[in-house]
């Protein structure tokens, strides 16, 4: 269950003995690229790796999932450049993870999509599988979103969001990549989406990469100001909304200076950190009407210890290596001929 559903339970010690297990042996999070193709050409896309062929089959993926679950993986994110361009494979893999979840209820699995292809019939199929979450990208108002993602794509995504079955809408996180041109629209987007019953929001600051447009990025100071204002309830009028969850993220590997600034400014309050049962460390800031803001925090890199990313053709590495065209050379191993345990730290 995600942020906010636990109501006023926040901040309670559960009495469990503090253990090194929490910080050393936290369960693996796996992002798997079901394909390396996309119907959009976003200005902020970080994927520099261009190979489209050689995708793992459903059988190869499921065998790999079994191995990862044996090694303690509990979170599986079905990503891609755009996973819904491979709907059958995506559905098959989600169904497989659903089966595995029946044996291991702690397992969680989801889907990350740009939402343009999430039409009603496909959304109903996905709702039938009941993933734990679906991240749908929305980068501002129509003008702002389409500036990044191409003309007409805002309306396509919005139409699909409005048509979602209720059971799926409840699991949607609106994934907002925070940039210079869209930071002032976030409050408006939260209100608008809440009217459709979409109440979960994920904010990730844009990180420039060799293949994307660096001028879109906010400075660290601007991002810290934005996060602080969200936490203080200045950007979203929570009194007009109910049960809204806002998750503010930062990535240690690419944004360590930002994390340092967030702690300096006490947006990340190191003496009031909480940890969930998946090892996620965070601050929780309750707002009015059952809403809350959560600021995610990691004091060190998680790549290859907790977080792994697998390309469509079986290469494994961290996220940053995927910025580059020569990703296979930078990747650690290919899982077609090596075992994942060789590189986990």
């Amino acid at each position: 269950m995600a942020v906010g559903f636990s109501g006023s339970n926040g901040g309670i010690l559960d009495g469990r003995k503090i253990s090194e297990r929490d910080i050393v042996n936290r369960p693996l999070e796996v992002s798997y690229f079901v394909n390396n193709i996309c119907n959009l050409r976003c200005k902020h896309c970080y994927v520099g790796y261009e190979e489209k062929n050689g995708a793992l089959s459903v059988q190869e993926w499921t065998k790999l999932f079994d191995r990862l679950i044996d090694l303690g993986a509990l979170t599986f994110g079905n990503v891609g450049k755009e996973p819904l361009l491979s709907p059958e494979k995506t559905l098959d893999l989600l169904k497989y993870l659903k089966q595995r979840k029946q044996k291991n209820p702690r397992l969680r699995f989801g889907l990350v999509t740009n939402g343009t292809l999430l039409e009603r019939s496909l959304a109903e199929e996905i709702a039938g599988i009941s993933p734990d979450y679906v991240d749908v990208s929305l980068d501002g108002t129509e003008k702002e979103h389409d500036f990044i993602r191409g003309q007409g794509n805002y309306l396509r995504t919005i139409a699909n969001l409005r048509g979602l079955p209720k059971s799926l809408a409840q699991k949607v996180f609106i994934s907002y990549t925070l940039m210079k041109h869209n930071k002032d629209s976030f409050g408006e987007i939260v209100e608008e989406m809440s009217n459709f019953g979409l109440t979960k929001f994920l904010v990730s600051p844009y990180v420039p990469t060799p293949s994307s447009n660096g001028s879109l990025a906010l400075t660290n100071k601007q991002t810290v100001d934005f996060y602080q204002e969200i936490v203080q309830g200045k950007i979203i009028n929570f009194s007009r909304l109910e049960g809204v969850e806002v998750l503010l993220k930062s990535d240690y590997d690419s944004q360590k200076p930002l994390i340092d600034k967030l702690t300096e400014r006490r947006v990340i309050d190191v003496n009031n950190l909480l940890i969930d049962n998946f090892g996620v460390i965070f601050n929780r800031y309750p707002q009015s009407n059952g809403s809350e803001v959560v600021v995610n925090y990691m004091p060190f890199s998680e790549t290859l210890s907790r977080a792994i990313r697998i390309s469509h053709d079986g290469y494994v590495s961290g996220c940053l290596e995927m910025f580059h065209k020569d990703y296979p050379k930078r990747a650690k191993i290919n899982l077609r001929n090596r075992d994942i345990s060789e590189i986990l730290v």
């Binding site: 309670i12 503090i18 050393v24 994927v47 990180v207």
Partner: protein, 71 residues
């Protein structure tokens, strides 16, 4: 896709507790022990453990500093 590592992962889960200095100390201690057992040639793993200890030590300093200033 835009960078955000693994996306929401479904957000924060229901069961949680405070993350305190003892967690950080336990983490530092564990990684120091692990580091001692890793052969020199396994540089990737050694670097990871070293960086992790550094990150946790930084966090420890921040937490201690805040505790001192609040007394």
């Amino acid at each position: 896709m835009a960078l955000g590592f693994s996306g929401s992962n479904g957000g924060i889960q229901e069961v949680y507790r405070q993350f305190v200095l003892a967690d950080v100390d336990a983490g530092i201690s564990k990684y120091e022990n692990l580091l001692q057992r890793i052969p020199e040639e396994q540089t990737n793993v050694r670097n990871f453990y070293t960086e992790t200890i550094k990150g946790l030590t930084e966090l420890r300093q921040k937490m201690s500093k805040d505790l001192e200033s609040s007394i």
